[in-house]
């Protein structure tokens, strides 16, 4: 027990330090996606919820385990999907800065998706 606890505490502290190191380098623009990503990672609690579900042996245990599983699964699935949705929007940022030109927006107001060539500043669209 004591050795296990010591190992657990060691892992805990080292993981905290890794967390500090990895996070402190992220630019401000990615903070919302990052928060969402961290949010989905704590969905790992689903593993804990599954493990308590299998040792439950009375109605109260089953109810608690059921709620825990549902909560945790919502956290993990929702978290990753929402982070993915946010990051998908950064796709265009990969275009080189040299080619930075105004977003091509058609006159009817619908932004094109995909790789529509951007209009140049001298373009005479209207």
């Amino acid at each position: 027990m004591t050795t296990e606890l010591l190992t657990d505490i060691t892992i805990f502290i080292l993981a905290i330090l890794v967390g500090f190191e990895v996070i402190s380098k992220v630019p401000a623009t990615l903070h919302t996606p990052l928060m969402s990503a961290a949010n989905s990672i704590h969905g790992i609690v689903l593993a804990g919820a599954m493990l308590i579900a299998v040792v439950a042996d009375n109605p109260l245990g089953y109810i608690l385990a059921f709620i825990a599983c549902a909560f945790a699964a919502a956290n993990v699935v929702g978290g990753y999907v929402v982070t993915g949705r946010m990051l998908k929007m950064f796709k265009r940022s990969r275009t080189p800065v040299a080619a930075a030109s105004p977003a091509a927006v058609s006159p009817n107001g619908h932004a094109p998706n995909g790789h529509t060539p951007a209009t140049s500043k001298t373009g005479s669209q209207s």
Partner: protein, 469 residues
Amino acid sequence: MSAWSWVTQLLYVAAAVGFVLGLHLMNSPATARRGNQVSTGGMILAIATTFALVVHSGTVKPIGWAVMIAGTLIGAGAGLYMARTVEMTAMPQLVSLFNAVGGGAAALVAINDYVRLAGATTGLSETVTIFTILDVLIGAVTFSGSIIASGKLQGLINSAPLTFPGSRIVNTVAALVAVGGGIYMIVTPSVPVLIVIILAALAFGVTMVLPIGGADMPVVISLLNAFTGTAVAMAGFVIGNWALIIAGALVGASGSILTKLMADAMNRSLANIMIGGFGTGDSGPAVEGPGGDVRSIQADDAAIQLAYAQKVIIVPGYGLAAAQAQHQCAELAALLEERGVEVSYAIHPVAGRMPGHMNVLLAEANVPYPQLKEMDEINPEFPRADVALVIGANDVTNPAARRPGNPVSGMPILDVDHAKSIIVIKRSMGHGYAGIDNELYYNPKTSMFFADGKTALTELTAAVKTLVG
């Protein structure tokens, strides 16, 4: 250690490597998506390993399986639905909601463990009890606090700081009961006391978040995110699971860093936010507005100013997000660019509801990334700007922040008042979260365009097209 435990532990470590690499890849927009995929891979591995553990144990009753599978499927379905359908503007409250359920699940893991072992002959060890108590307290506070935070952002609960007579006393009593009960439980295991501290922690979470105003909510959500991570790590100690400990600690650390970054951006200390209460009135007497005349402007005049400017800086704020006007904004900007106007966006670190929230919204509207300028980069450019177009941003543009003695004092602001002229799109003269008048609106250079962000931008775009086509 059996070969089986070796394999599962190593798989958990591999999953943890996935989480760390995933977060690392989120350093740059170019690799961020891959980061999320790597992190997802780690999560699938961790869950699959757990599933294998469960199957291997061979002691699961059918009802146990039913509970586990039904709970997971229902939760996953709900999470998937919410994540798919949520508007990008409502993202912060969804993150808060996921915090709530994550913290709740972590608390339930420990509660279940405690209740089960309290009835068993083996009894409870003191070390496990300590982690159980920490998990339950942090998890319960996160659960109720996050729901309140989410409700405030969604507008279900008044986003103004809410206090009732004696609310601080209730808060203190709840904290004392929770901590006192926890200490009692270490000495004397007791399920009734566990229930008492759960209720006390829930009450503490509610009374902790209620008095905090909407403007500080991003910081609070970030803090609660760190709380959830910590609660999950504590749950890991309770059931002796490395995956939970590592992932929980990672999130706890990252959430703390983010919280500090956000508080710094608003020039507020965390203690100040949690105790002081932004705009509760106890941070100083309300500042009377400077008075003076407010000039209002119509779409046509504003459009002409914009169309004949050489340099326009757009200052998007929460109003833009609330009106879902990011597409209209991008359209107007593109139209101006076609006319040869130099357009850039000034992004305040806490514009919108979270750091980077505005970037996400504008990226959704396909605004080219290089046009988005952060505060330190854009502030020196304001004096060269012919027009600063403020869309639904308030407190982050208030020059009063440069003077001491008012609720926004010391907050870093965008130097919008240095621009040659200023157009403010706003629905009314209403106050921002700080609850004070914005002196910018009384500046002789400022014209107010009173309209909803979306309507105003649509009208402006149409006016630019017809007037100067």
